[in-house]
Subunit: 193 residues, 2 copies
DNA sequence: AGATAATATTGACCATGGTCAATATATAAA
DNA sequence: TTTATATATTGACCATGGTCAATATTATCT
């Protein structure tokens, strides 16, 4: 049986998270240093790793929170219909995902948890992403022959591809959303061309 | 004007690559250590970084070579027709891509070069992958309304998604190829369901 | 309150990737 | 061949993430 955590534990965790947010605000996600975070929090280095498996696990929490917030925002509006509206609705989420190359890498690495017990905020986010898109597609099905869940997985795959090409020297003639639009038009409305 | 490289330079590079291959054979890509590679090659540490920007750049070369070989093998057979044959033809390539989680991460990170001047073996491989698939799809077009290039980009996106889920604790009820099959059936033969 | 067990914190220490001024070697020019 | 210039190599050193036995604190039991 797990006891309830000490008050001190929660305080320390908050101190670390606050310090991390400050460090990220100042140096970006990639530039944030554990030593700096620990110093700002007024805590020993070992304490950091008693709270987070490693630096990336902290980033999982921080980035996951931003993704959750963006996802919340995306779901606050009306249900999008069609590729154009879907892309517009997801834009804030995709913005967070591509705010830094490092962030995108972390998101991909944490998108699928290696073990059930270590499903973190980013993995949770991906579940919400799929669910939301599936719900939207279920409300206004672009295709009758494929179930919304599979359609949503396709949207995710195409979105990731479009975002990845954002960081590519080649293929920069098209914007992320324009590229995604081409994919989704083909995915949603086959035979229409 | 760049002079032609010294004979010594090429020798040292080969020594490093041989040592790296040995280290990888023994400890895997992730477990390979720069200090070990350098020791095997009988060379100072600084020499390593005079030849490769960083450890990942060496991995780019090593992994890229394996991918190129697998791609070669994939193209040696007859032109595949339909989702099933396409997946079978690409299997050796996808095997290399998923041989280690670390390898998959590196491949994704290097899939799109950040700068034109730094297009490495893995980025080259992705170009070949798209070209080969586009050629195959052009020979036996599954859909008339979408051009083979875009179709091929979709195949890549779905393949990456299917492979990523390989490393995921959830979603393990389906194999990589079975999952990819579902995606491609929907991507290739809309309205057939 | 005092004794005991569980939990949290500490900081010296380690592992590993990466840097760079100094040095050595190879090539080109005289 | 000698000299000058470009290129390659060296290894001590640094930056950063991460470990763990020792210590301190908190919660629980009597």
């Amino acid at each position: 049986m797990a006891r309830k955590p000490q008050k001190r534990t929660l305080q320390t965790r908050e101190k670390l998270l606050d310090a991390a947010r400050a460090a990220v605000a100042e140096h970006g996600f990639e530039g944030a240093r554990v030593d700096d975070i620990v110093a700002r929090a007024g805590v020993a280095k070992g304490t950091f790793f008693a709270h987070f498996r490693d630096k990336d696990a902290l980033m999982d929490v921080l980035i996951g929170a931003q993704l959750a917030a963006a996802m919340e925002a995306a779901q606050s509006g009306p249900v999008p219909r069609g590729a154009k509206e879907l892309i517009a609705a997801l834009a804030p989420v995709h913005d967070v995902m591509t705010c830094e190359r490092y962030v995108f890498d972390i998101i991909l690495r944490y998108s699928g948890a290696a073990g059930i017990e270590q499903i973190g905020p980013i993995a949770m986010f991906f579940g919400q992403y799929i669910n939301a898109v599936a719900r939207w597609l279920g409300a206004h099905p672009p295709r009758a022959d494929v179930d919304p869940g599979l359609m949503a997985e396709g949207v995710q795959a195409f979105a990731v591809q479009a975002m990845a090409l954002t960081f590519c020297a080649l293929h920069q003639e098209q914007s992320r959303d324009a590229r995604l639009r081409r994919y989704l038009d083909a995915w949603f409305a086959p035979g229409a061309g």
